[in-house]
Symmetry: C2
Subunit: 313 residues, 2 copies
């Protein structure tokens, strides 16, 4: 059986939507719009069930807003897991809904373990080209490399078989990412050692220039982003930190090839909760939270098109 | 409100059971005993529901076997997640059952993320002294340090508040753990840099000598285990790799203080599926899988008592 390669599907989606904007799905109970909470309270009384129903409705409505505009979404597993098993069920439903809406779905779980345990995570999340191939329906999963190269290989194996992808943490967007990632060892930083492994694994799986092994590199470190784009030519990037974390479009320009491919730029809070912040709070308010999310998404798309090579898409 | 400190509760449990043996709960569908599968098939027809019911029965019966013998169990999240939302519900039920059976429960999820996302994982898993404080009911969670020190701190904050613990991956048991962990940077290995942060965080939270920030150090690296025990005097260790992965009791001796405290030694497959391997397969067979698990647990306890300072407990 031939399965469609992850990067081929991803690049087709980026070209079809003419943007590399990625919308994070980060439901946070305290910030959900009142109408979403009211609907959930009509259906349930148990607090975890209320929260899970609210997360699901919020994400489904957000997917309806962004599916015509962007190629991919990235649900953050932690917020769903915080609700317990009810939240996990909501996460699975949200990922299925996103797939059925024609979106590439990147589950942000930052998983990692050894041997057959790593393979269990891979089989759980990496549905790939066939949405039914894994219970969590994801096209791709974020993966933590600390345990070592042999613990990435089971993910690559399953990803290759299924037309799925992984994004390995290389240089993360947080202020403290220097603690271990920036340590200099044998002439280069640890994140460069990780990058070298990621490039090797991705080159081995490349079709049309890109492999199925991606890398997470924060927009908050523009110099490292440029360095890593060049060190990992076969690697699709996932760039968090745009917007709320302080990264600007000019900072992410180096992530792209001349044809506007090679990276997805993520925005979570800035889109999910646009209605709570300037300039959208004044213009829209809580009742029009979807219009605020749409305006924030369109603004990000225009910002990337203006300041990066994504403009040629 | 005063909450009981994680290490105080853990050490009391180790002294009450007079062993540092930790039983991993690693249900694997292909290896489950026939009677467990038959019961699950009587109750359900959907494959994920059958598997989840089988995982739950298997783990509950295993907990009944080991609860009188050992202080703690360590469910592996990956195997449950592989079943999708049904598996997550089974995991929550298994952890609650283990807590109600008087066991310390260490959820092996190897989570890690930045800022408020890390805090969401912490709040999800770290119930600590009050089993109802988090939907996953765990006393402790394994955590991946790659993202940096600032991403460990939210876990430490929640753990301190709730009387819970975390175990940070320092030197893992897999053959490829050298890839990044053993790189020499600024005069010492990356795992030593991680160990230094873990020791600092644990010293700040220490009561009676041990803090709530533990470390995972593989039994398969006895020299590094000795080095790390000495580098992290306030840190409770979780030592995987005994048994199926090749570690022997003599290899883990260095993990303990003179009073037999300071470490838990994990065995998963060797106990869970003792009935499938020599010498238990011949003696017990599949129908007596619980007797095989009990014999394997007692053998491990005796082995640790004979070859390490755990004998003085």
């Amino acid at each position: 059986m031939t399965v469609s390669h992850y990067s081929v599907r991803l690049n087709a989606a980026i070209q079809a939507k003419r943007t590399p904007a990625l919308v994070g799905l980060d439901p946070r109970l305290d910030w959900l719009p009142p109408d979403v909470m009211a609907h959930a309270r009509e259906l349930h009384s148990d607090p975890a069930a209320v929260a899970a129903a609210a997360f699901e409705e919020f994400c489904v409505r957000l997917i309806d807003v962004v599916a015509p505009l962007v190629p991919a979404v990235k649900p953050q597993a932690a917020f769903f897991e915080e609700l317990g098993p009810d939240g996990c069920l909501a996460l699975a439903r949200v990922m299925r809904y996103a797939r059925n809406s024609g979106l590439i779905v990147i589950c942000d779980g930052k998983r990692g373990d050894i041997g057959t345990t790593a393979e269990a995570y891979a089989r759980a999340y990496l549905a790939g080209a066939d949405p039914q191939a894994a219970p969590w329906h994801a096209d791709a999963l974020t993966v933590n490399p600390y345990l070592g190269r042999d613990t990435l290989e089971p993910f690559v194996k399953v990803a290759t078989e299924r037309g799925a992808g992984i994004y390995v943490l290389v240089k993360t967007s947080n202020p403290g990412s220097a603690s271990f990632q920036d340590r200099q060892a044998d002439g280069q930083s640890i994140y460069r050692h990780v990058a070298q492994v990621v490039e090797e694994l991705s080159e081995q799986t490349a079709v049309d220039g890109f492999g199925c092994v991606g890398a997470v590199v924060g927009a908050t470190y523009p110099q490292e982003l440029a360095e890593l784009r060049s060190a990992m030519p076969h690697v699709p990037l996932l760039v968090p930190g745009y917007g709320s974390q302080g990264g600007a479009a000019a900072d992410v320009g180096a992530a792209f090839t001349a044809t506007g491919l090679g990276a997805l730029v993520n925005n979570s809070r800035g889109i999910n909760f646009a209605y709570r912040s300037a300039p959208y709070a004044e213009q829209f308010g809580a009742k029009q939270w979807e219009a605020a999310a749409e305006a924030a998404t369109r603004r990000m798309i225009a910002d990337l098109a203006e300041h990066t090579s994504a403009g040629v898409l």
